[in-house]
């Protein structure tokens, strides 16, 4: 397996790399959405504390 | 020890959505007596009655009926309770008589009894039309007629007086008095003043933070 055949994937580069690219993109996207979910959760907990603090 | 037909609520904390309602509720209603729940709108009256009927679970606290918690009662608890909510619970396309017959099928032979000596709310006295064509007061009378036939010992009534006329309120007074004399128990939530004949064993004020 030389570098050149590696990149060209024996002529299938047009299909192999987008497939792995899409897979990688989605799996990283999952991480981003998980981080955003955590930020939202922490924010809502803080908001809940404030509203609770206001009530007598 | 809790006697037969005795409702005992300890340290009940109710939640609606994200708000905790009222304060810890402690209530004991003996056999043959009823509790009267008052309080402004949104103070949790309806939520309390729904939780007592098994719709929804309290955040904390224990509800015991005749010595056993609702969890211990399990499915059998359904036969013990008659619940009258904001909604009448009757089918608009059926006539009053047919609604009574339908409720009898739902409740089954054990949960049904013929009111003696004479019914306070007589379905046959109402016009024989589909209930959707009756007035709100008449529909309320149909659902109270269904309640009258219920053999369930625990009655949970949420705003039962709405849209009742003067002698309707008196009739409800008589109905509830007869149920209590027969050894039943009840919890009533209402805005309107109760008929003078009914004296609640305890009055629970919801909505004020102790």
């Amino acid at each position: 397996m030389t570098w050149s055949t590696f990149w060209s994937m024996g002529g299938f580069a047009l299909y192999v790399w987008p497939a792995f690219g899409f897979g990688f993109l989605v799996m990283v996207g999952n991480l981003v959405s998980a981080a955003r979910l955590e930020k939202r959760a922490r924010r809502e907990v803080r908001e809940a504390q404030e509203t609770q603090a206001l009530e007598p | 020890m809790c006697g037969q037909n005795m409702l005992d609520i300890e340290g009940l904390v109710l939640r609606r959505g994200r708000r905790l309602l009222a304060r810890r509720i402690d209530l004991r209603v003996d056999r043959g007596a009823f509790a009267y729940i008052v309080g402004p709108n949104g103070s949790g009256k309806s939520t309390l009655l729904r939780v007592l009927a098994g719709f929804g679970r309290p955040e904390e606290g224990v509800i015991r009926w005749s010595g056993r918690t609702i969890g211990e009662w399990g499915g059998a608890y359904r036969g013990e309770v008659a619940f009258l909510g904001h909604l009448e619970g009757i089918k608009p396309m059926l006539t009053p008589e047919e609604n009574l017959a339908y409720r009898r099928l739902l409740v089954g032979p054990t949960g049904w009894r013929v009111p003696t000596p004479s019914p306070f709310f007589d379905a046959s006295a109402l016009p024989d039309l589909p209930c959707q064509r009756l007035s709100a007061g008449q529909r309320r009378r149909v659902s109270l007629a269904c309640l009258e036939h219920s053999a369930a010992p625990l009655w949970l009534l949420d705003e039962p007086l709405t849209s009742l006329d003067h002698d309707g309120v008196a009739a409800l007074g008589g109905l509830l008095a007869r149920h209590l004399m027969a050894g039943g128990t009840a919890v009533v939530a209402s805005h309107q003043p109760l008929p003078p004949t009914l004296v609640p064993a305890t009055v629970l004020e919801l909505g004020t933070k102790r």
Partner: protein
């Protein structure tokens, strides 16, 4: 025995304990998944010899097959969490389910896209109503249904429990869908194409040098799912316990 077992469940089912204890486990899974995927890619893309029939195009199976497997596994995971949540009323189970659902949908999407990217060189079109791709497509709609249902109630608990019921019924239906789509495909076998390269590959004895990267990738994806679902579940359990004391401390201390 059952004492230890139920103690283990009660310990893990308590949200505060889960919130603290799941963090180290999440890190372990993350490291293992990173290493496994790296090794799997190296094995699959570099070491494995090209397939005599499909040349290097077959390498797409190293992302297609593990993600297809994950999409099925996670749906069963949803149903099991739903069952636990409904029967024992463990709030954490519903949090795990609503954490896992989007990940499962993502893996199903990966399967569909990589599957069609594989179909193009083999049959000349991106989409082929092949049995596996079709049932994967239906599985994708099942995922969307479960996620949509769980988010359409303003009372989160009702949403969780309704989605749990749908996930359980869906999980019972998945094998039926697979069987019916397979039967449907054999009926129309002649209509679309001669052989089925998917089948050709998986049932014949795959050379070991091609097989081990597949298993390593599978391990990598499982650990990736483990790390991610624990991370998302921590946020989901916070969202379900906003007014509790432990949530305050958990958020207070970063």
């Amino acid at each position: 025995m059952s004492g230890r077992w139920s103690r283990w469940i009660h310990r893990w089912a308590s949200p505060p304990y889960f919130y603290r204890a799941s963090r180290p486990w999440g890190r372990v899974f993350a490291v293992v998944s990173f290493v496994a995927i790296a090794i799997g890619l190296y094995g699959g893309l570099w070491l494995a010899p090209p397939d005599f029939q499909q040349g290097n195009g077959f390498r797409i199976i190293y992302v297609h097959v593990p993600s297809a497997w994950m999409s099925l596994f996670i749906f069963v995971f949803l149903a099991v969490c739903g069952l636990i949540g409904l029967i024992w009323r463990i709030k954490l189970a519903h949090a795990m389910a609503s954490a896992a659902a989007p990940i499962g949908a993502a893996f199903t999407a990966i399967t569909l896209v990589t599957g069609s990217l594989w179909a193009k060189p083999m049959w000349g079109t991106f989409w082929v109503w092949d049995a596996r791709l079709t049932s994967e497509l239906i599985l994708f709609f099942l995922y969307l249904g479960v996620i949509a249902l769980s988010r359409s109630f303003e009372n989160q608990q009702t949403g969780d429990r309704a989605a749990a019921i749908l996930a359980i019924v869906g999980a019972v239906d998945v094998p039926i869908i697979h069987y019916s789509v397979d039967w449907w495909q054999t009926l129309h076998q002649g209509a679309i194409f001669r052989g089925n390269p998917f089948d050709g590959h998986l049932h014949t004895t795959v050379a070991p040098s091609m097989l081990w990267p597949l298993l390593v990738m599978w391990l990598g994806f499982m650990c990736y799912f483990g790390a991610l679902v624990l991370w998302r579940a921590r946020s989901e359990i916070l969202l379900r316990q906003l007014d509790t004391g432990w949530a305050r401390e958990a958020v207070g201390a970063p």
